[in-house]
C-alpha cells in the first residue's frame, strides 16, 4: 500500500489512497461476506483512508492560511513604511517652513532696522531648533531589514514576483514625488554642496529604498511615467537645493544672532544680498510648488470630500491611481490654513481669532455676493450696482490708519443690466465664474489673468455664454464639477452645463399640489448627485439630479434664505428669517439641531473646506463663526452697516487659504485673516 507523502500533490495522493483503500475494503468485505457477518461498518483501511484524506485537507488549508498570513504581513509592513515615509516628509516640510519663517523674520528685522533704525520687536526670534533627524535606531533597522527579508521570502513562496514589489514601491515614491533622477538633476547649479544635499534627502529616501529594493534599476523605466510630474519633481529638487543653501546659511545666522547690527549695516553687503536673493527664491518657489501641487490635487475631481492627508493617501492607494504630489499639497496647505505661525499652530489646533485686514471699497451699492478664487488670493464680488469686480489681495494700497489695507479692484465686469444677486466660482484652473442677476440672466465670465492692469483696453473675451432660460430674478448659483445649479424667483431651480451648445440639463420644479413658493437658494449635495433647494416658505427639498425627482421633503415654518451642504457629511445647513440656523440630516430629513444664531434674519452661510467651521452673516450686522462640532460661537465680528433693513448679504471661506470674507449692503466687502 502506498502512503502518500505530505507534500505530494494533494489531489493525486487523495485519489491513490482512495483507490487502494477501496480495493482493500472490497477484499475485506468479501471475507466478511463469506463469514456471513453484515454488521461491520468501519474497516481499518477505511479509517486509514479517512484519516489520510482529512490530513491532506488540513495540509491544504494550512498552506492556504500561511499564504494569507504572508500577504497580510506584507501589506501591514507596506502601510507602515508608507506611513513612516509620510511622517518623515511632513516633519521635513514643517522644519523647512520654520526655517523659512525664521529667515523671513530676520529679513523683516533687518528691513525694519534699516528703515526706522530701531529694532523690531517680534515675538519669537529664536532660530528654530534643529530636531534630531528621524533616523531609526540601528537595532530597529536590523529588525526592519530582517522582517523585510522574511516577507520577501514569503512572497516569493507564494509567487509574488519582484515586479509587484517594484510597482508598489514605485507608487510610494511617486506619492512622495521623489525619484532617482534627482541626483542627476541639473537644478543643483546653485552653489550648494551636493554631498550635503544628499545627506538631507537620504533620511527621507532611505526607507523608500529599503522598500523599493529594485528602485535603482527601475529608475529608467519610470522616466516616461514621470513626465507629467516632471515639473513638481524639479521644483522639489530646486527647493531642496535652495533649502540646502539656507541651512548652510543658518549656521551663520546662529552666529550672528545677537549681532544683527553687523548684517544690518551691510558691511558684508554682498553676502547679505545673496541671502536675500536665495530666501526670496525659496519663497517664490515654495509658493509655486504649493500652487502647482494644489492644482494637481484638486484636478477635475470634485473638491467635496477631503480626508486628512495621511488617510487619504492610504485610502486612495487602493484605487491604483497614480497620485502626484497632489495629496501632499493638502498636507502643506493644511499647515498653512492652520495658521501663519507654525509654532503657535502646533500648540492650538485652529486659529482663535480672525481680524479684518482688507476692505474692498469700490462698489456704488450693496454687495450681494462674493466668492474666492479656487487657489489664488483673489476674490470676485457681485453688487447691486450691476457690476462684478475682481480683487487681488496681493495688490494692496496701505490705508491711512495702518489697521487695514485697501484693495483696488483688478477688473470690473459689466454686462448685467440690473443688480447682480449671486455668484459662483468655477472649478480650479477653469478660470471662470458665473453670475446671476435680477435681469434673469446667468452669465459666464472668463477671469482676466492676475497680471492684468485695471486700465487695460477692453477685451470682449471676458464675456462667456449667457444662459437666459430663467424668466425672473436668479437668486442663487452653485458650481460643482463643471455643472451649475441655479435657483430663480420664476419657481424653478435649473441644472446647467454652462459651456455646452445646449446648456440646460434639467429643470427642477416642485410638483407637489399647493406649492407656490419660489426657491430662495440651492446647493449641490451628496457629491453633486443631488440638489438641496430651500423655498421662500421654508420647505427644504432634496432632488435627485439623475431623475429630477424629489427624494426628500422637509417642511419648515420659517422662510429660509440660504442652504449649504456639508463637504463630507450628509448634513444640510439652512439660514432662516426667524434668526435660526437649522441642521438637517440629509438622509432621514430629521432636524439634527436648531439654534437661534443671530439677533436678526440670517442671510449668509459658508462652511470651511474641511467641514469643521460654519460662518454665518445676518442683518444684525454681525458675522459669526461656529464650531460645527459643538455648535458654539467661536467668534463674532461686527462688519457692516445697514442700508434700509439690510446689512450682511453674503459670507465666504477661501477653499485653500486662511481667508474669510463678508459682503454688505453698505457697498463694502471685507476680508479677514
Amino acid at each position: 500500500m502506498k502512503i502518500p507523502t505530505a507534500m505530494d500533490d494533494s489531489s493525486v495522493s487523495h485519489h491513490n489512497g482512495g483507490q487502494v483503500g477501496s480495493q482493500i475494503g472490497v477484499s475485506v468485505n468479501n471475507k466478511q461476506n463469506e463469514e456471513s457477518s453484515q454488521s461491520v461498518q468501519y474497516s481499518i483501511p477505511g479509517v486509514l483512508h479517512f484519516i489520510q484524506h482529512e490530513w491532506a485537507r488540513f495540509e491544504v488549508e494550512r498552506s492556504q492560511w500561511e499564504v494569507d498570513r504572508a500577504e497580510f504581513e506584507a501589506r501591514i509592513a507596506f502601510l507602515q513604511g508608507e506611513r513612516k515615509g509620510q511622517e518623515n516628509l511632513k516633519n521635513d516640510l514643517v522644519r523647512r517652513i520654520k526655517m523659512l519663517e525664521y529667515a523671513l523674520k530676520q529679513e523683516r528685522a533687518k528691513f525694519h532696522k534699516l528703515k526706522y533704525g530701531v529694532d523690531l520687536q517680534q515675538g519669537d526670534m529664536r532660530p528654530p531648533t534643529e530636531e534630531p533627524t528621524q533616523e531609526p535606531e540601528p537595532s530597529e533597522r536590523a529588525q526592519w531589514k530582517q522582517g523585510r527579508q522574511l516577507i520577501k521570502q514569503y512572497l516569493q513562496e507564494i509567487g509574488y514576483t519582484d515586479t509587484i514589489l517594484d510597482v508598489r514601491s514605485n507608487k510610494v515614491r511617486t506619492l512622495l514625488g521623489l525619484n532617482n533622477e534627482e541626483p542627476a538633476d541639473d537644478s543643483s547649479h546653485r552653489n550648494c554642496d551636493k554631498q550635503q544635499h544628499y545627506s538631507m534627502n537620504t533620511a527621507l529616501n532611505r526607507k523608500m529604498y529599503e522598500y523599493g529594493g529594485k528602485d535603482q534599476r527601475k529608475g529608467a523605466q519610470q522616466g516616461s511615467g514621470y513626465n507629467e510630474e516632471g515639473m513638481s519633481v524639479q521644483e522639489t529638487a530646486a527647493v531642496f537645493a535652495n533649502f540646502e543653501f539656507l541651512s548652510n546659511q543658518e549656521m551663520d545666522m546662529d552666529e550672528i544672532d545677537d549681532l544683527d547690527a553687523k548684517q544690518m549695516h551691510h558691511t558684508t553687503t554682498k553676502q547679505g544680498e545673496d541671502v536675500d536673493q536665495e530666501a526670496e527664491d525659496v519663497l517664490t518657489e515654495l509658493n509655486l510648488l504649493t500652487e502647482s501641487e494644489a492644482d494637481g490635487g484638486q484636478g477635475d475631481e470634485f473638491p467635496t470630500v477631503k480626508f486628512p492627508a495621511t488617510s487619504a493617501t492610504v485610502a486612495r492607494e487602493g484605487d491604483g491611481k497614480p497620485l502626484a504630489l497632489g495629496e501632499l499639497a493638502q498636507l502643506t496647505v493644511s499647515n498653512e490654513s492652520e495658521g501663519y505661525d507654525v509654532a503657535s499652530a502646533s500648540k492650538e489646533s485652529f486659529r482663535k481669532t480672525w481680524n479684518a485686514k482688507y476692505s474692498l471699497r469700490s462698489h456704488f451699492d450693496g454687495v450681494r455676493a462674493l466668492a474666492f478664487h479656487p487657489t489664488r488670493a483673489a476674490l470676485v464680488t457681485a453688487s447691486e450696482d450691476h457690476t462684478l469686480k475682481m480683487w487681488d489681495l496681493q495688490r494692496t494700497v496701505p490705508a491711512k490708519k495702518s489697521a487695514g489695507l485697501d484693495v483696488e479692484p483688478l477688473y470690473t465686469f459689466r454686462a448685467h443690466t440690473a443688480p447682480v444677486l449671486c455668484l459662483a466660482m468655477g472649478a480650479p484652473r477653469s478660470e471662470e465664474c458665473f453670475s446671476g442677476g435680477l435681469d434673469g440672466t446667468i452669465r459666464v465670465w472668463n477671469l482676466p489673468p492676475p497680471i492684468a492692469d485695471p486700465y487695460d483696453s477692453y477685451d470682449p473675451a471676458v464675456l462667456g455664454p449667457v444662459l437666459r432660460e430663467h424668466t425672473d430674478a436668479v437668486w442663487s448659483l452653485s458650481c460643482a464639477g463643471g455643472r451649475l445649479l441655479s435657483s430663480s424667483a420664476d419657481g424653478t431651480a435649473r441644472l446647467w452645463s454652462p459651456r455646452d451648445p445646449r446648456p440646460l440639463l434639467a429643470t427642477l420644479r416642485d410638483d407637489a399640489p399647493g406649492s407656490t413658493s419660489a426657491p430662495a437658494a440651492a446647493d449641490f449635495a451628496d457629491a453633486a448627485c443631488r440638489a438641496a433647494v430651500v423655498y421662500t416658505d421654508g420647505t427644504l427639498l432634496l432632488y435627485d439630479l439623475e431623475t429630477g425627482q424629489v427624494v426628500l421633503r422637509v417642511p419648515c415654518d420659517s422662510p429660509a434664505n440660504r442652504v449649504r451642504s456639508h463637504p463630507t457629511l450628509p448634513l444640510l445647513v439652512t439660514a432662516h428669517e426667524d434668526r435660526h440656523i437649522r441642521f438637517w440630516d440629509a438622509v432621514s430629513g430629521r432636524c439634527a439641531h436648531a439654534m437661534v444664531a443671530h439677533l436678526d434674519a440670517v442671510t449668509g452661510l459658508a462652511l470651511d473646506p474641511n467641514g469643521l467651521f460654519l460662518l454665518s452673516g445676518s442683518h444684525d450686522c454681525s458675522v459669526r463663526l461656529w464650531n460645527l462640532d459643538t455648535k458654539t460661537c467661536v467668534q463674532e465680528i461686527t462688519a457692516h452697516r445697514k442700508k434700509f433693513d439690510e446689512s450682511i448679504l453674503d459670507v465666504a471661506f477661501h477653499p485653500l487659504r486662511p481667508y474669510i470674507a463678508s459682503a454688505g449692503a453698505d457697498g463694502l466687502a471685507k476680508v479677514f485673516v
Binding site: S359, R361, S362, H363, F364, D365, D385, H386, T387, A399, K400, D406, E408, P409, T412, R414, A415, H416, T417, A418, P419, L421, L438, D439, G440, P454, Y455, S457, Y458, P460, D472, A473, W475, S476, S487, A489, S517, A518, P519, A520, A521, Y535, T536, P559, N561, R562, E577, A601, T603, H619, R641, K642, K643, F644, D645, E646, D666, G667
Partner: protein, 231 residues
C-alpha cells in the same frame, strides 16, 4: 404689494428688505421711508434711490435737497448714483462702440479727450475711455483718502467732484453724437442725461460752455428756473 409686505403692514413693522427668492418686480418695492426717520449712515443714498424709484422723470423731486442736509454729501451721493446708473449706458455701448471704429474719445469734432486713468494721459478708444473713467470714478469716490465718510465730506474733497463730472459728461456726449440710437433708448428709460445736466447746472458744478449737448426734447427749461442755480 407682495404678500409679505401686506403682512408687515398689518403687524405694523415694515422690513425694507429684498428677500432671496422674491420676484424682480418686487425688488426694493417697499413703502417709502421719510427722510427724517432714516437713521442709517447711508440715509442720503437711500433717500435718493427711493425718490428715483418713485418716478425717474421727476427731476425736481429727485434733486430737491432735504432741509438741513449737508450740501457736499448731497452732491457726492448724487454723483455716485450717476456713475452707478451710467454703467447701464456703458453696457449698451460695449456691444456697439468698437475700438476699431471709435478709436478716440470724441463728441463733436472740436476736441479729442485724453484718458486720465493712466500715468500720462492717453488717447484711449472711446469704449476704453468710458470704462476707465467709470472705474476711476468708482475708485476715487470710494477712496478712503478723499471720502472716508459718507456723512461728512471735506471741502477739499468736494472740489474733486467737478473733474469727475466733466469726464462723465463726455460719456453722454460721445453716446449722443456717435451712438444716438443707444443714447435715446437709454435716456427714455432713465432720464439720466437730463437729470445730470440739471444736476451740474443747478449746483454750478460744470460751466455752461462745456455742456455741448443740444437741449433734449421735452426738456423743460428747468435750468433757467429762478432761484435754483444758487441752491
Amino acid at each position: 404689494m407682495t404678500k409679505m409686505a401686506e403682512e408687515q403692514w398689518r403687524s405694523g413693522v415694515i422690513l425694507r428688505r429684498n428677500r432671496p427668492g422674491s420676484s424682480a418686480k418686487d425688488f426694493r418695492r417697499w413703502p417709502d421711508e421719510p427722510f427724517e426717520e432714516m437713521d442709517s449712515t447711508l440715509a442720503v443714498q437711500q433717500f435718493i434711490q427711493q425718490t428715483i424709484r418713485r418716478d425717474p422723470a421727476n427731476l425736481e423731486a429727485i434733486l430737491k435737497i432735504p432741509e438741513a442736509q449737508d450740501d457736499g454729501v448731497w452732491k457726492y451721493e448724487h454723483l455716485r448714483q450717476f456713475c452707478m446708473e451710467l454703467n447701464g449706458l456703458a453696457v449698451r455701448l460695449q456691444s456697439e462702440c468698437k475700438p476699431e471704429i471709435c478709436t478716440q474719445m470724441t463728441a463733436t469734432e472740436q476736441w479729442i479727450f485724453l484718458c486720465a486713468a493712466h500715468k500720462t494721459p492717453k488717447e484711449c478708444p472711446a469704449i476704453d475711455y468710458t470704462r476707465h473713467t467709470l472705474d476711476g470714478a468708482a475708485c476715487l469716490l470710494n477712496s478712503n483718502k478723499y471720502f472716508p465718510s459718507r456723512v461728512s465730506i471735506k471741502e477739499s474733497s468736494v472740489a474733486k467732484l467737478g473733474s469727475v463730472c466733466r469726464r462723465v459728461y463726455r460719456i453722454f456726449s460721445h453716446a449722443y453724437f456717435h451712438h444716438r440710437a443707444i443714447f435715446d433708448a437709454f435716456e427714455k428709460e432713465t432720464h439720466l442725461c437730463k437729470r445730470f445736466t440739471y444736476f451740474v447746472t443747478k449746483y454750478s458744478i460744470i460751466s455752461k460752455e462745456i455742456l455741448i449737448l443740444p437741449k433734449l426734447e421735452d426738456e423743460t427749461p428747468i435750468a433757467q428756473q429762478p432761484g435754483e442755480s444758487e441752491a
